[in-house]
């Protein structure tokens, strides 16, 4: 399957991948980020169980410096 993550397209990902598996694949620490799938927030407590679907549009954010 494919996903769009922060505007980048990722092809040939494993079907039915969980959110945790995607984070492992991207090497991102779950503790320091927040995730939106198709404009809906995915709660941190469900990362192990939520399965992603072909074509999902993901936004992964974190805090950066700002005023």
């Amino acid at each position: 399957m494919y996903l769009i993550v922060n505007g980048h397209r990722y092809d040939n990902l494993e079907d039915d991948m969980t959110m945790s598996e995607l984070l492992d694949y991207l090497k991102l620490p779950a503790k320091k980020i927040a995730i939106e799938r198709n404009r809906e927030i995915i709660s941190k407590s469900t990362y192990n169980t939520v399965r992603l679907n072909d074509g999902d549009i993901m936004e992964i954010i974190h805090f950066i410096g700002g005023g």
């Binding site: 991102l28 320091k32 927030i41």
Partner: protein, 262 residues
């Protein structure tokens, strides 16, 4: 901080309480290390932060949370870059999921030349956020009428600009800031415009409850030293305000008695 201000003189914003009345930004520093050192020097207990996409192509890039611990310093997520209420709500909901807190800084900007807040959209956004359960500290113009509307709506702090963001011009309209201070029942925090320590003192002497600054520290030649200067400035201004200044006079009044001269 504690030695200088009596400990019951705290800044209460929404459900939070702070000993320091200085809030600093985390933008424009050379790196996060310098930012963290400046924070320590400033004594601030709250920092503003922005919400942005993770760099997926470089997951090892340093992250702000590695340098400034959100468990020790309150993160105040902002809505910089949002131009509508819906964008602001979306951004801050994500921030809440990333950190788990309700206290937020709403800023809905307009023209990049002056970065003045779009007050029409700010009012609309504040309403949406408050309905969503956020405690909203709101960046606004120095207009007492808008400030009152934002307070009535339920914003937990009114944050009028002293001068355009990043300009370092100091408090341009003391009359308006004072009017806002006098009419407000929630903290008034000057946000934007401070250039150097005396500007922070002026804001505090006008009776503001706090000062929020970023560029004044980050763009100083020595940000750490300036952070320390700002810490003292905010304390000095606060104490002068609490002390109540002497009245001004047109003519001199000798400090040494004239009686008993030899």
């Amino acid at each position: 901080m504690k030695n200088s201000i009596k400990s019951d003189d705290t800044l209460k914003v929404g459900s939070h309480e702070f000993n320091s009345r200085l809030i600093i930004g985390t933008g424009k520093y050379t790196n996060y290390k310098q930012n963290s050192d400046a924070l320590n020097a400033s004594g601030a207990e709250m920092v503003t932060v922005a919400v942005r996409r993770v760099n997926v192509s470089d997951p090892n890039k340093p992250m702000l949370v590695d340098y400034i611990d959100p468990k020790k310093t309150v993160y105040l997520p902002n809505t910089a870059g949002c131009f509508t209420g819906e964008d602001a709500v979306r951004t801050l909901r994500l921030a809440k999921e990333a950190g788990g807190w309700n206290l937020v800084k709403l800023e809905v900007l307009s023209d990049p030349k002056h970065l003045y807040p779009d007050m029409e959209e700010t009012l609309r956004s504040a309403e949406l956020l408050i309905r969503d359960g956020f405690e909203v500290m709101v960046y606004c113009s120095d207009d007492p009428v808008f400030a009152k509307k934002l307070e009535s709506m339920g914003c937990v702090a009114i944050m009028p600009l002293g001068a355009p963001i990043g300009s370092g011009l100091g408090i341009q309209n003391k009359v308006n800031i004072r009017l806002i201070v006098e009419q407000s029942n929630v903290p008034v925090i000057v946000d934007a415009g401070v250039g150097t320590a005396s500007d922070a003192v002026i804001a505090m002497e006008l009776g503001c409850d706090g000062v929020l600054m970023n560029t004044a520290i980050a763009n100083a030649k020595d940000p750490i030293k300036m952070a320390l200067a700002m810490k003292h400035a905010v304390i000095a201004g606060r104490e002068a305000y609490l002390a109540g200044r002497m009245p001004t006079k047109k003519y001199a009044d000798p400090s040494s008695p004239l009686a008993g001269l030899i």
